[in-house]
C-alpha cells in the first residue's frame, strides 16, 4: 500500500524567508503532483513532476523529484503573504492519486 508523508504539517514563516516542504512516499512511482488549496476552495494544480530529477519552478515556488529516494521537495523562496495556503503532494499509483495530509503554510509579515 502506497503511503505519502508530508512534513512539516504546519509551517509558520516570516515574509522574506526561505523554506522547504518535504514529501516522502513508500513505493515506486515516477509521477508526483503538487497542489495548493485555499480555505473553502478546490485544489489548484501547481506542478506535475514526471521523471527522476524533474525540477519545475513557478514564481517563488520550485518543486523537484528524486524517484530513487522517493522524495519530492517544494521550496519556497522569499515567502510573501499570498503564499499562505495548504499545500498537498500526491503520488500517482496506477492512475490513482494518493495524497499526503497537507502542509498548512502561514506567512507572517
Amino acid at each position: 500500500e502506497l503511503k505519502v508523508e508530508q512534513n512539516p504539517l504546519f509551517l509558520s514563516m516570516q515574509e522574506g524567508k526561505n523554506y522547504t516542504i518535504y514529501c516522502n512516499y513508500s513505493t515506486t512511482s515516477d509521477r508526483l503532483y503538487w497542489y495548493r488549496q485555499d480555505p473553502g476552495k478546490s485544489l489548484e494544480s501547481l506542478f506535475v513532476l514526471l521523471s527522476n530529477g524533474a525540477v519545475k519552478q513557478e514564481g517563488r515556488l520550485m518543486a523537484s523529484l528524486d524517484t530513487k529516494a522517493r522524495l519530492s521537495t517544494l521550496h519556497i523562496t522569499a515567502a510573501v503573504h499570498d503564499l499562505s495556503a495548504t499545500y498537498f503532494c500526491a503520488v500517482d499509483m496506477e492512475n490513482k492519486l494518493v495524497f499526503g495530509a497537507g502542509t498548512i503554510l502561514r506567512v507572517k509579515s
Binding site: 509521477r31 489548484e44 500526491a90 490513482k96 497537507g102
Partner: protein
Amino acid sequence: NAGVTQTPKFRILKIGQSMTLQCTQDMNHNYMYWYRQDPGMGLKLIYYSVGAGITDKGEVPNGYNVSRSTTEDFPLRLELAAPSQTSVYFCAIQGDPVEAFFGQGTRLTVV
C-alpha cells in the same frame, strides 16, 4: 475549475436519507474520480472510473455507489447517509498529459 462541474455545492442531509452528487466534465477525459476530504486532512479516493461502463473501488468505498454510463458524467450515490459521511467531496478528471483537474467540491453535512 475548468471542465469539471459539481452539483450541488452544499447539502444538509438527515441520517438515513439518500442523495446523488453530480459530476460532469466537458474535456472528454477517460479517467474520473471521487475523493472525500475530511477537515484538516488530505483527500481519500472513494471510487474511480477509467471509461464509460467501467468503475472500481478506491480506498474508502463503503456507503457509496457510482455509475459511468457516459464519458461526461460520473455521479456518486449515498444510499443511507451517516454522520461519518460528513465531508467535502471532490470530483476530478485526469487525461493526457496526466494533470488532474478538480471540481469546486460539494460540502455535505449529515445530521
